[in-house]
């Protein structure tokens, strides 16, 4: 597993990255000296307490936020703002309510920067409609969709412009447990068909183990990488995996670490108030 990953191409490199926010109530260091790498096709999760700076890390990679010090390299070059090579999935879905399902998927394809996909536009929309199990809802507006369907729509929209990296910020956080599991399975299915490099932020240790090759446990603020965990289970994974003793052992172990950080972050939050 280890040698395999080293052989794969490195897509993303974080090298001693730090970030401090300056607000009205003083400065807060949110990310400190973070270094990690994402290899081609790898699925990496970040677990950490809320408010610890995981989202900032993802947003730096997405190009919404710039680091203060250190380097972030994407395919060998620096990051110059957001771009369609990195698909971003948010917890709040962000599907456009004024567009039908079909038009939402087509949104990215309608932009000038994705003109090279113009000839395949119709096929791509139809393909992702089907892949995300949204067929039959082409002409429906998002108001008629459930939360899970909205998130699938957001995924279809991100996939349509063919990014090779997916950045997901607690994508299933707002969904009920059943829908969540369904979407996790589906994400895995889709990734088997069209492999992407994924960076996932999640609160759920179980979700992280179930989906990832590797888990980075992030400390309370400022974000540091506390532990790197290689997930030993082979793909494709099925829900039965979560019932195995190996899975449960790993889950308990990681939950303990993550709970400690959660408590620390609570103390921090109490101090600042």
């Amino acid at each position: 597993m280890e040698t395999q990953r080293q052989a794969a191409r490195e897509r993303v490199i974080f090298n001693n990255v730090s970030k401090t926010y300056h607000g009205d109530h003083g400065s807060v260091k949110v990310v400190e000296d973070v270094s990690f790498k994402l290899a081609e096709g790898e699925f990496v999760s970040l677990i950490g307490p809320s408010g610890c700076g995981k989202t900032t890390m993802l947003q730096m990679l997405a190009g919404f936020v710039t680091q203060d010090t250190g380097q972030i390299t994407l395919d060998g070059g620096p990051i110059k703002g957001p771009g369609s090579d990195r698909g971003v999935i948010f917890q709040e879905y962000g599907v456009f309510p004024w567009l039908t399902v079909e038009k939402n998927i087509d949104f990215g394809l309608s932009l000038r920067c994705n003109k090279h996909l113009d000839s395949k536009r119709k096929e791509l929309v139809a393909h992702y409609l089907k892949l995300m199990h949204l067929n039959g809802f082409e002409k429906a507006y998002p108001k008629h969709l459930s939360g899970g369907m909205r998130q699938r729509l957001a995924l279809a929209r991100a996939y349509a412009v063919n990014p090779n990296i997916l950045l997901m910020d607690e994508p299933f956080g707002a969904l009920d447990a059943q829908t969540r599991l369904a979407l996790q399975l589906q994400l895995m299915e889709v990734l088997t068909e069209e492999r992407k490099t994924v960076l996932l932020i999640t609160h759920s240790v179980e979700e992280a183990i179930f989906l990832s090759n590797r888990i980075l446990i992030i400390s309370a603020r400022p974000s540091k990488i506390l532990r790197v965990v290689d997930v030993p289970f082979p793909y494709p994974r099925t829900p039965e995996l979560t019932a195995t003793p190996e899975f449960q052992r790993l889950r308990l172990e990681l939950e303990e670490v993550s709970m400690q950080q959660y408590a620390k972050q609570q103390e921090l939050a109490a101090e600042t108030q």
Binding site: G63, V88, G94, W98, A182
Partner: protein
């Protein structure tokens, strides 16, 4: 997905458009009002010279329509409102966008806007008469003023409230600034622009009548003033009823248009 809750797809297209039940309820409510008025007249609590009977007013209404050219007054007043609203909105749209989009512009212009907005447009009528006389330019300029200040706030609050996630999503998909404006800001602001349209239409009717009461030869405000001058109470009633009717009709048209343009909205 099998595990997922099924979603109702019914009612996608059926909700919008004309529906009979609320229309009948509206008619019934006006009939009740008319009946109450008739009863009040019949009870003789008020001097019948001051409170005409509904049928008397109806008779005068028909008379005014056929002999005195009431339709021209309606047409003139409506045209003034439409011109005022359209011009006022045409100015309010770019200004509202600048205010909503650029924080620095907002900080600079907001106080001034709030000052003028707090000022009732009617207060400007004397000044406008001094500047433009009592002709059409005076009335129209007051209406544009009224439409602009009542709509600019609605528009810029609307622009300000566009959820940042839409902007982020479109940026992540590679949208340029112009594309964000065209494909996100415009459709996301549309509901607020339509609200601004309705609000300014209402304000313009109020202002118009005030302007016509002060200075106009024709128009629904002038009809009321004439009724007062010749002590023809039924004519005053006709003027008031027509103003209400036209304003309600215009609002209905706008509502209908809004429902059609915004089928995608959650609350529709």
């Amino acid at each position: 997905m099998p595990q997922e809750r099924a979603v109702k797809r019914s009612g996608c297209a059926k909700q919008r458009g004309f529906s009979t039940a609320p229309f009948l309820a509206g008619v019934a409510s006006f009939l009740t009002l008319g009946a109450a008025w008739g009863l009040l007249w019949w009870s003789n609590l008020f001097d019948r010279g001051l409170l005409p009977a509904p049928w008397e007013v109806l008779k005068v209404l028909i008379e005014q329509m056929t002999e005195k050219g009431l339709w021209l007054d309606i047409l003139l007043s409506t045209r003034r409102v439409v011109v005022g609203v359209v011009c006022g909105l045409a100015i309010a749209l770019p200004v509202g966008f600048l205010l909503g989009w650029y924080k620095s512009v907002r900080a600079f212009i907001d106080p001034v806007i709030n000052f003028y907005r707090a000022l009732p447009p009617i207060a400007l009528i004397p000044l406008v008469i001094v500047y433009f006389g009592i002709g059409e330019p005076a009335r129209i300029s007051v209406l544009i003023y009224a439409a602009f200040f009542s709509s600019v706030i609605v528009i810029y609050e609307g622009i300000k409230m566009i959820p940042p996630i839409y902007i982020r999503v479109s940026k992540a998909l590679g949208a340029s600034d112009f594309e964000i404006f065209k494909k996100i800001v415009v459709p996301a602001a549309l509901p607020h622009v339509l609200t601004a349209f309705r609000v300014s239409t209402g304000v313009c009717w109020t202002t118009l009548v005030a302007a016509e009461l002060v200075a106009a030869e024709r128009g629904l405000g002038a009809v009321i003033v004439n009724g007062q001058n010749f002590f023809q109470v039924p004519v005053i009633f006709v003027g008031i009823i027509m103003i209400g009717t036209v304003a309600v009709l215009m609002d209905q048209v706008l509502r209908y248009a809004t429902a059609h343009l915004l089928t995608w909205q959650e609350s529709m």
